[in-house]
Amino acid sequence: MLGHLNLLLLIILLVSALWTVLTRSLIRSAIGLALTSAVLAVIIFRLGSPLAAVCELSVCAGLIPVLFVSTISLTHPRTQAEKLEHRRGRLKRFIFLPFVALGLGLFLSLMKLPLNIPSPLAQRVYDVREVIWNMRSLDLIGQVIIFLAGVFGVVILLKEIKSHE
């Protein structure tokens, strides 16, 4: 039903997500996020969505970690005293996370699933190009507007930083 490979990939996804959150170094967190995205791309590919998998792999596993690494490199690292203090507090805050996540997984796996999921009434189209360009063309306009909003936002933010310096 689930398949051994799918199960293995889901476990790797979960472990990499946990490692992303639990690791102390922010750079390692960014690398963990890239690993999570790469594993997710493989799962998406196996679920019959190759175009979304390519986008996930190139953008989420490639571009976004680079963005995080550049943000981290533009901020200064902690001093040794700050690191020690942070380490103590951090252990207290994050120690419950693996137990919460695994406990929830165990609890949900013991629950009975209501299997009567209603089928959507939307028209069934098998070609993703048909959906993007013909059925949901308004989405494309929205995406362009979001892109422009993002570009203008970043330009204004970075311009302010430059003028302050």
Partner: protein, 112 residues
């Protein structure tokens, strides 16, 4: 809908919910703005997986892919703008710690 694929929905959903919990926990517990952003990114990963899964089970992978592509575009823009805001906060407070943002009020008072 392909009823033969329905039994795989719940096991996938358990993992989706676990990743959601990890993302929420990260946002709630951390004081670091960059790590909070990583938590938001994990939430988006869970949403992406759920969309693709539902598309696969209902046989509407084309629709699910178009939605995921839109989600990825929104995700990138959110991350870029949030990273810009974090850098702006860093240039103002010299820190990416959320607790340091509480000092903004005092700073305004001293400027006034």
């Amino acid at each position: 809908m392909n009823s033969a694929l329905l039994p795989m929905f719940w096991p996938f959903c358990i993992f989706v919910l676990m990743i959601l919990v990890i993302g929420f926990y990260c946002i709630l517990v951390t004081y670091n703005l960059i790590r909070a952003l990583i938590g938001v990114e994990l939430l988006m990963k869970a949403a992406t997986l759920l969309l693709i899964l539902v598309g696969y089970i209902t046989g509407q992978t084309a629709l699910a892919q178009s939605l995921v592509i839109t989600l990825i575009v929104v995700e990138v823009v959110v991350m870029v703008v949030a990273a810009g805001i974090i850098l702006r906060i860093y240039s103002h407070t010299d820190s990416v710690d959320v607790r340091d943002l509480l000092k903004l009020k005092d700073k305004d008072k001293t400027n006034a």
